[in-house]
């Protein structure tokens, strides 16, 4: 029984690669992955987010994110007609355990999942003094934790607050866009765990990716466009009050 299950798994190439890598655990675990064939990003569909916190929990268990630090988190905005420029925002424990119930009033509520924007012109990699953080050939911003000094300059340079210094490793840590998953044909942990499909991993170099059609038909925005970071976390129906 066990063997047939394994053989069935081999039928699915993507899962099979993941399977083999799980067994082998070697650095050469993604032989079919061509870095130059991808340009990764993320689509975040705000009207679909229900603020359940599944993505935050999934990220923490997939990536061993220490308590009190966040590779992804969810914010809840409350905007009334009198505080457009000064919205009321909460993110209790990064939204990990969801949000307190909100009561209907004159304002509007919505959730904004946040994560590393995997910027093409990333200010964080620009300032790294030694080349310990970088934009990979596939557009993912990564940290080489064996080379990082822990100077925290990159943390200061990120306009979105997506980086932190790992409390025990004492090096910069951040969202890797689940690099260990996407190189095996899987989606990210947050996308896998999102019950409403509010998050979608996108590959801009893949002509068949639905993102291309989506971008043509929707009002999509990135966070803090004035920072000109080439952010690749695309937000559908992003409210102007979000920062």
């Amino acid at each position: 029984m066990n063997m047939t299950r394994r053989q069935m798994l081999v039928l699915l190439p993507a899962a099979a690669v993941a399977w083999e890598s799980l067994l082998a655990g070697t650095p050469e675990s993604s032989p079919n992955y061509e870095q130059t064939q991808h340009w990764w990003g993320m689509l975040i569909d705000i009207p679909k987010c229900i603020g359940c916190g599944n993505c935050v929990r999934a990220c923490q268990s997939e990536n061993d994110v220490p308590d009190g630090y966040f590779r992804t988190w969810v914010e809840r905005y409350h905007v009334t007609d009198t505080n457009l420029a000064n919205p009321e925002v909460i993110s209790p424990d990064g939204g990990k355990h969801g949000f307190p119930a909100a009561v209907e009033d004159s304002g509007k509520y919505f959730f904004v999942p946040k994560m590393c924007n995997h910027c093409a012109d990333s200010p964080c990699t620009q300032v790294c003094p030694v080349g310990a953080t970088f934009v990979g050939p596939d557009g993912v911003v990564l940290v080489d934790q064996k080379y990082c000094l822990g100077c925290a300059y990159c943390v200061q340079a990120c306009p979105y607050g997506c980086r932190y210094i790992h409390p025990t490793k004492r090096v910069a840590d951040k969202c890797t866009l689940c690099y260990h998953r996407i190189t095996k044909g899987l989606t990210t942990a947050c996308c896998e765990a999102c019950p409403t499909g509010a998050r979608q991993l996108v590959d801009l170099k893949n002509p068949k990716d639905p993102i291309h059609a989506f971008l043509k038909t929707h009002a999509v925005q990135v966070l803090k466009p004035q920072m000109a970071t080439g952010a690749k976390a695309f937000y559908n129906e992003l409210d102007g009050s979000v920062r």
Partner: protein
């Protein structure tokens, strides 16, 4: 000749500099990691090291290879687009070795995580006030989690 004698000490000082720079260059060539600069100004080997980290969420494709019956049932219901591990949690260990059993789910907590009433949720999303909705009767008494609508045969 006398010019050199009177500047000799300056050459000694400069000599120390040149020696230090040469030693530095030699050490540098030896210490820089081999894959540094392979793709850009970073250690190329880091890419594979990060890619080699273990997976915790197996992915719904893995689940469906064994649990085709559940996948079939789910595909026609309201939870069709909800992936398995959204509710069941990370189960790569179980996919790896099916004898490892996943933890039992407490539906009273799990269902409320998404479906508890809040004005903050998008309009049209099914919400209930769990305290008054079922008088403490557990959710799966009426709603089958894999196909939760009442008319789908969940009601008893």
């Amino acid at each position: 000749m006398s010019n050199f004698r009177d500047t000799g000490h300056l050459f000694r000082f400069a000599g120390i500099f040149v020696a230090a720079i040469l030693i530095f260059l030699a050490i540098r060539g030896w210490l820089v990691p081999h894959t540094f600069g392979q793709y850009g100004h970073y250690r190329g080997a880091a890419l594979n090291e990060i890619a080699a980290k273990p997976v915790h969420f197996a992915g719904h494709q893995s689940c469906e290879t064994c649990h085709a019956d559940i996948a079939e049932k789910k595909s026609s219901g309201k939870h069709a687009s909800v992936h398995c591990e959204a509710c069941h949690g990370p189960l790569a260990a179980h996919a790896d070795d099916p004898s490892i059993q996943p933890a039992k789910i407490d539906t009273a907590v799990l269902c409320a995580q998404c479906h508890e009433t809040s004005a903050a949720k998008p309009k049209g999303f099914p919400e209930v006030e769990t305290a008054s909705h079922s008088n403490g009767v557990s959710c799966e008494t009426c709603h089958q989690p894999h196909s939760p609508a009442l008319e789908a045969g969940g009601a008893q």
